[in-house]
Amino acid sequence: MDLSRRLRAWALARPRVLIVDAPGTVERRWAVEAELDRRGWPLAMSPADTDVLLVLGTPGPQLALAIDVLWSQVAQPRHRVDLRATTDLHHRLEETLHALGAATPKEHVDGALPARAGAGHSPEGTDDSTHEGMEHSRHEGMDHSGHEGMDRAGMAGMDHSGHEGMDHSRQEGMDHTAMGGGGHAGHHMHHGGEVAGLPMAETAPDRDGLALDVLRVSIGPVLPGWPTGLLLRADLQGDVLTGAGLSWVDATDDGSSPPADVHPQRAALDQLASLLLVAGWPTAARDARCARDGLASTGQSELATARRRAARVARRVRRSRALAWTVRGAGHLPSERGSAGDGDVLDRVRRWCDVALGADGHVPASPASLDEVAAVLEGTELGTARLIVASVALDRSAANTEPEEARA
């Protein structure tokens, strides 16, 4: 019916977008975010919150796998765009709107995943029995047609928590790590065993002198305000991380993509934007993105406006007592590094602000190595850990310490 189609098109005119940027596509991501901000399309928080999955560049094999899992968790109606270049961005987004608003679910997949496209069930289909769902995930991995995949996996399972997740064929371990999260399903089963393909949690001594449940979780490689491709594997007790390890997915191709030579001020603003997003300050994050995007313009007056914007947001963040109060003391990196990356999260935020202000003598901090950061994550809460990761520039070239041969 025409009316319902128009209503649908209207409702989907501002879809929520989840951006996955493959390594080396920073400038492209900025361009896309600028366009999304201009259109008023919000950024999605999780697969459940997503209408459009936007993949920038060519993801490596592991990231591609993670993206597929993510995609299987996105609810209909949905649309996936693989953007290799930003030249036809406007056109592609218009196309996206058209595809989203048009129609039956089966038309929503952008050709990337034909196998998943067929399942256009009605929402009632989601009430499959849990049991059936588990079995699928257990034995058949994630290669279902889209709809069923969603029924079953959500983004829960992940990692099949537990010791066992790691010992699985890594292929499968990755399958379940797209967005972080893990089953808390069976806390505290002293006798071990498995439920729904998830091993039960075990206990271990914790911070408060109680031996409570430990979950093995993987967080990343795609999260809002999180460096795409970064994977945090950790034991989780309540929301306290113990035994954290960081790694890049697809870390083998490091030499081939040298760090792009980006505008330091824009990079600082970008870092601030993602940190402010994680810190739950969306208005300031929006202003930082806006300033960052403005600095790319060529016109003299626009550039001046953008500089003023950058200065305004940097000063606002620098002076914010609430932000200082809430992040102070988190994530002390050892100072003997001698670089500008030491101090706590607040120090680093202020340093980013200085760089964003464009003041002389402020060089951006040299990237921190993953091991250094992982050491600080030890014993922090999940939220604090996210703040710490968002506050440092991470060394992309650092080789993955885990052996990659198994996967390749």
């Binding site: 989907l12 005119a13 829960a156 979780v217 914010s320």
Partner: protein, 315 residues
């Protein structure tokens, strides 16, 4: 004490209930629209965005996760908006409440406590780590804010000599309670934002945990939870107007208009102030709630009690 006429008695139960639900939805829309305008940095067109989001969520598929606790998850999701509307039952609309008893304030508080359990269920149900973390955060935050909220409500009750909303309104005929109870007013608004896990108290749905309790919700589930949140916030703003700002009292204009204007003003102020702050991390906020807010609200109650004894309030 004359029995205050309730809306249910005046217009019949069903029309009154429909009216309250309608007002609740309107308030929710108001909060969501103002929030969207502030978030997107101006632009009046943003007022339509909540409607657009609602329609989109209605057409979206619901999703599920691996081994969820479906019963508890769904009941938690359904409970959030229902409780929000129930809390509206004791908020006066045009000088009348839907339901009136001798314990209106406690009723309002109980709905917020039940919300507590409901949100925890929404976090527990999907069997996912981000959602569960959000649920725990809300539990800790709610526990810390329950007492200051209770004390600020009690302060109002002491001042009016009654727990009935209608009596509180009439007790403010001379002077608005905000004048003698500024601390209770601020604490009430802050705790209300904490209970709606919104703005600076939005850690349970924070971006650092991918949306927390809402991270696994899509379609109508997400719509219900989000609607419950904004209605709660709107209900609190309306309640703050009734408890501290004299309800519909004011010169020239009729009462309901004044009440509406004040409610809109409180919503705008709340959203504007709330969005100027980052999320305050729960471990910091909770300590302040326990060690600062509780004593401060107790002192506020003491001050009001002394004022009451000295004949400050015309009760």
């Amino acid at each position: 004490m004359p029995e205050a006429e309730t809306a249910a008695a005046a217009w019949g139960v069903l029309p009154a209930a429909l009216l309250v639900t309608g007002v609740a939805l309107g308030l929710g829309w108001l909060v969501a629209a103002v929030d969207r305008v502030v978030l997107s940095g101006g632009g009046g067109a943003a007022v339509l965005e909540p409607v657009r989001s609602s329609v989109r969520l209605l057409t979206e598929q619901r999703r599920t996760t691996l081994a969820p606790d479906r019963l508890l998850w769904r009941s938690g999701i359904a409970a959030v908006p229902v409780l929000a509307v129930l809390s509206m039952a004791v908020v006066p609309i045009g000088g009348r409440t839907l339901w009136s008893s001798s314990a209106d304030l406690v009723w309002f508080n109980a709905m917020e406590a039940l919300l507590w359990a409901a949100v925890w269920l929404v976090g527990w149900g999907p069997n996912a780590i981000h959602a569960l973390t959000g649920g725990y955060r809300f539990l800790a935050q709610g526990l810390a804010y329950e007492l200051p909220l209770m004390f600020s409500l009690i302060t109002v009750g002491v001042g009016a000599g009654s727990l009935r909303t209608a009596d509180i309104l009439s007790a403010q005929a001379g002077l608005w309670f905000v004048v003698s109870m500024p601390v209770a007013f601020v604490v009430f608004l802050a705790s209300a934002a904490a209970f709606a896990f919104w703005g600076p108290f939005g850690a349970p749905t924070g971006a650092d945990i991918a949306g927390g309790v809402t991270s696994e919700l899509s379609g109508v589930d997400r719509l219900l939870v989000e609607a419950g949140r904004v209605i709660f916030l709107g209900a609190t703003a309306a309640m703050a107007v009734a408890l501290f700002l004299g309800g519909g009292s004011g010169p020239w204009l009729p009462g309901p208009v004044w009440q509406l204007l004040k409610t809109v003003a409180v919503v705008v102020a709340l959203v504007w102030a709330g969005r100027r702050l980052p999320v305050l991390r729960p471990d910091r906020v909770v300590e302040v709630a326990w060690t600062v807010l509780i004593p401060v609200t107790l002192v506020q109650a003491l001050v009001v009690a002394v004022l009451l004894l000295s004949g400050f309030y015309a009760v």
